[in-house]
Every structure is written in C-alpha cells, then in structure tokens.
C-alpha cells in the first residue's frame, strides 16, 4: 500500500482491453493518504489505469473501490473526489465564473456557500480578473488553473490529477506544486499522473510505475531503487581525505565498490542504499572523517525508471 488511510483507493486485479489490445493487464494497487505519482511512458497504460481508478471507464476485469465501494456504481462517492483531466477542453461558451459555479453546485455544496466558494477559488488561482471572460478565450495556463480549481471546488478527500502542470508558466508551476504538496500534507490522497519524471519527482517520491499495462513497481523511489540489485546505487561523498575515506568505506556492509576520482570525491556503489545511509553517520563519527557533501547519483526517478524498464 502506498500512503496510509483515511481514503483507501483499491484496484483489485483490474484489467482493461480494447478488442485485442490489452491497455491494462491485472493491476492491483492500493493508494492511501499523501501524494502518489502514477508514472509511465506514453502508451504504457497510465491514462487507462488512471481512468479506471477514477471510475471513468469500466474495467474488463477486476474492480476499483473507494473505501470498499465500487466507485462507478456509487456516484455519491464523487462528493469526495476531485478530478483534473489532462485535456484542455472546457465549455468555451461559459465564463470561468459560470463554469465554476455550475460545478460547485453539482458537487453538492450548499447554495449559500456556492458564491463565496467560487470567489475563493478564483482568488486562489489568480483568475478573478478573468472570471467573467468566456473560457474560449482562456490561455492554456489559465485553463490548467481553472481545471485545478474545479477539482478542488468541493474540498475533496481524494484528487486525481492527470498531467496537472501541462502548459503552466514557471510561477504557476511552482504554485501548483506547492498546492499539491499542501494537499498531501493536509492528509488528502492526491494521485498525480505524468510521463515527465522530473515533474513527478518535484511533487512526490512515492510512485506507481506503469509499464506495458502492468504495475512494475510501487513505493518510495529509494525503496524501489534498492530492489534493483543488478544496478547498485551510486553515492558520491566529498571529503578532504578521500583516500582514507575510501579505504574506510570499502570495509563497511552493503558497499560493493569504492572509487576515488583523484580529487576530493569518493564514489561508492551500494546494494542497499537505505541501510548504507542509516549506518553512514555513525560510521563516519567513529572514523573521525569529515564528509562535506553526500549526493546520490542515481536514485532519482529517471534512473529507477530506466533500470526497471531497460529503456
């Protein structure tokens, strides 16, 4: 399970095929509180799985449940769900305010709360000035913000965000990432789908990796990284006495190899990065060696992704 309750989203052996093409094959998954990245290349089945999880399409096999109930059969559960689609499509003939008002009302927000809530959302996403303009005239970035605003309109417990940063300018991106972090910190479940690794990495380190319609791995990036023994984690340490540090580290557990770069850096290969990191402070204290900088070279999402998919 990724994250922890209160909201529990489960996919139980879910599969989806279109004719002969298997888009998603037997995926089982549990998602709890916090931000989780659903990651996969284009065509990996990520969008199909995302839609299955959000109840937008019916699985060919298996079932998706939100807190134990099939989401697609209980539309009332959408009171707790916010959805931000990837597509830029918006009803161009409505204004931003009309669009939000309609969706806030449809989310079941009491009528006396609708107007203030719409005002809050417009303010929060810096759309107040454009509120009375038709959506057909909105820029891509404004559309993206409005999509996020409508997803948050009814204060949902669980949010599905499909490529939420598409088309945003750097400032809006930063704000959106901050908002996503805040939502996760508030205890909501935020499922973010993306094929852009650095983007996901900025939002979360908890990922579900989809490849060729299957869940390849799920968990924290570092934890997943440790599960790939054929590709030891590479850690770089900067020290004034690199040779002494190298000869010290080579004797430690989980260290598979040590190299000096000839200057002040030592590169360590470890088969268990978590254990290595846990033990390292004590070992360094015991050795009396001062390390100025520690940097993991390949426990980032990109490395994990390429190791797991061999791409």
């Amino acid at each position: 399970m990724i994250g922890s309750p209160p909201v529990r989203l489960e996919a139980d052996e879910v599969g989806k095929w279109f004719g002969e093409v298997v888009a998603v094959g037997r995926c089982s998954l549990e998602v709890g509180r916090g931000v989780v990245g659903l990651l996969g290349q284009n065509g990996a089945g990520k969008t199909t799985l995302f839609k299955l999880l959000a109840g937008l399409i019916t699985p060919s096999r298996g079932v998706v449940r939100l807190d134990g109930l099939p989401l697609r059969d209980h539309v009332g559960l959408y009171r707790r769900v916010g959805f931000c689609p990837e597509s830029d499509a918006l009803p161009g003939w409505l204004t931003g305010r009309e669009f939000l008002t309609m969706l806030v009302r449809l989310a079941g927000v009491p009528s006396e709360r609708v107007k203030p809530r719409v005002g809050e959302l417009l303010e929060r996403f810096a759309l107040t000035g454009a509120a009375n303009r038709r959506l057909g005239g909105y820029s891509k970035g404004m559309r993206q913000k409005l999509k996020l605003a409508q997803a948050l309109a009814h204060d949902p417990d669980i949010l599905f965000m499909d490529e939420p940063l598409n088309g945003m300018d750097p400032v809006s991106r930063r704000d959106a990432i901050g908002a996503i972090h805040a939502l996760g910190d508030e205890g909501r479940t935020v499922l973010v789908s993306s094929h852009i690794l650095p983007e996901v990495e900025e939002m979360t380190r908890r990922i579900v990796l989809i490849h060729r319609g299957k869940v390849l791995a799920e968990g924290d990036v570092t934890e997943i990284r440790d599960l790939i023994p054929e590709h030891p984690t590479v850690v770089s340490l900067r020290c004034e006495r690199p040779r002494e540090l190298a000869s010290f580290l080579v004797r430690q557990d989980h260290v598979m190899g040590v190299e000096c770069d000839g200057q002040d850096r030592v590169v360590v290969r470890t088969d268990h990065a978590l254990a290595f990191y846990r033990a390292l402070p004590g070992q360094l204290l015991a050795s009396g060696l001062a390390v100025e900088e520690i940097h993991t070279l390949d426990d980032n999402l990109e490395s994990v992704f390429s190791y797991l998919t061999d791409d």
């Binding site: 109930l69 597509s87 499509a89 309609m102 989310a107």
Partner: protein, 280 residues
C-alpha cells in the same frame, strides 16, 4: 473520515436539482452558440415568404391557408427537424466529443439527471426559437393584407403551438438519443429527417403513421377553401401535403409522447453505458 464498506454511502445530488443545474448551464451555453444565429436566420424565412406573398399577391391569399401551408410544408417537415437536429443531436454528443463530459461525470449526479438536464435545455431552446418564429409569422399575417383575423386563424395558430412543442421536444429527444449512441449523430439524424420521414410519410395507408411528421400534421385542423388562382395553387400544395387518412388526435399525441419517452429512456441507457475512452 475512514469508513468501512457498510458505512453510509454519500448520496448523489437529488435528480431534479442536478437536472435543473445542468439545464440552466446548458441553456446559457446554447444561447451563446453561433449556430443559434444561423437557425434564427432560417426561422425568419417563413416571415420573408409571407412578406413576398403580400407584395406580389396583395389581398389574394387568405391568412388561414398561408398559415396552414407554412405549418404543413415548412415548419413540420423542415424547420422543426432542422432546429431539433442542430440543438438536440449535439446536446449529448458534443460534450463527449469535446471531452467536457468528464466534468459532469466526476460529480455526484446520476447519469439520467445529466441526460435530462441537457436534453431539456436543448428542447426548451428549440421550442423557444420555433415559437418566436411562429409569433413573427402570426404578427405578419395580422399586419399585412391577408384578410384579417378570425377564430379559425387563432385556432390554427394555437394548434401550431402545440405541434411545435410536441414536435420540437419529440425530434430533440430522438436526435439527443442519437447523440448518446453515435459518434456522428448528425448522419442518422439527417437520414431520419430527410430520408425516412418524407419517404415513409408519403406511403399510403397506415405505414405513414411510422413517422413523426404524419402525427404532427395530424394535430393541425386544415382549412379547405379556394377562390383565386394563387389560392388554388396553395390549395393544391396543401392537399398534396394532406393526402392521407387521419387518425384520432389522441392517437397522434400518444405516439409523440411515447417517442419522447422511449427516446429519452434509450438515451439514458446509452449514456450510462458510455465510457470516456477519449482523453479527457
């Protein structure tokens, strides 16, 4: 906030409330569509026709006959289906094709409420547009030299109003259902309105009853008089339009109501089964 499967399930929005909200937004959206302008121009044609008749044949064509002719040969076979096609067919298919249906789909509302709200708005706009056009026709008949107003003319106008309401709602419901079932609903809608309807409506005996056009025409009380050349010409056209065996009025109303009910139910079922396989 955690809950088990046996905990209280959040209720969907009441269907009437949801349908009302959807209908209000759809109404607003439809009124701003450019296609409304084209429809408005099209619906002015009967008025222009009357003006032309009054200029070329002043005092020759009686108002009742003209109104009946417009109802039987222009509103029922052409304007009602075209307006319903332009508003009803896209009511469901457009949000699916554009990818905006997802915003409704991910709200706590039942699919029938969504469907009814969209179709209701489309039918209301269709009714409003055709009724406005007929009001303009009636005003033109009163203002120009068409022989003045009598009870028969008022009655005919009232019948046309009923025909418009039933016809606009009927065609809109039917084409809306096509929108829920077909990716390009205009194709079957055109085939139905301009293939099936004229073809079958002109088959004698009871087969013609398998058209909306027949039952809509059956609801109008047609005048039968002729005195002048232009009147004779119009009479011939009208007779050709009416050459069929009438059925009781209640029979036609029942058929039209059934078409509305069955189309709506079928549309709801089709929308329920619909999957958002398109992105968005």
């Amino acid at each position: 906030m955690s809950r088990d499967a046996d905990a209280i399930v959040p209720a969907p929005l009441p269907d009437l409330t949801a349908a009302r909200i959807v209908a209000a937004a759809t109404w607003r959206e439809l009124l701003r569509r450019r296609r409304l302008l084209s429809l408005g121009v099209l619906l002015l044609l009967p008025v222009l026709l009357l003006v032309a008749v009054s200029l070329w044949y002043p005092g020759e064509a009686p108002a009742g006959l003209l109104l009946a002719l417009l109802a039987g040969e222009i509103y029922i076979p052409f304007l009602l289906p075209i307006v319903a096609m332009a508003l009803g067919a896209p009511a469901i298919s457009e949000p699916i094709a554009e990818g905006t249906l997802v915003y409704f789909w991910t709200r706590p509302l039942n699919r029938p409420a969504l469907y009814l709200g969209r179709i209701l708005a489309a039918a209301l706009v269709a009714c409003a547009m055709v009724l406005l056009s007929q009001a303009a026709v009636f005003a033109t008949l009163l203002s120009a030299d068409f022989g003045g107003v009598d009870l028969a003319l008022v009655r005919l106008h009232a019948e046309m109003t009923v025909v418009t309401l039933l016809g606009a709602v009927g065609y809109t419901a039917l084409f809306g259902c096509f929108g829920a079932g077909f990716k390009r609903p205009l194709v079957p809608a055109i085939l139905f309105a301009f293939g099936w309807e004229p073809l079958v409506a002109n088959i004698p005996q009871r087969i013609q009853e398998w058209t909306l056009r027949f039952h809509l025409r059956n609801l109008v009380h047609w005048p039968a008089e002729q005195t002048t050349d232009i009147r004779g010409f119009l009479e011939t056209l009208l007779n050709r339009a009416l050459s069929r065996d009438p059925v009781p009025v209640w029979h036609s109303i029942l058929v039209l109501v059934l078409v509305i009910a069955v189309s709506t139910a079928a549309g709801v079922v089709l929308l329920r089964r619909r999957q958002l396989d398109r992105q968005g």
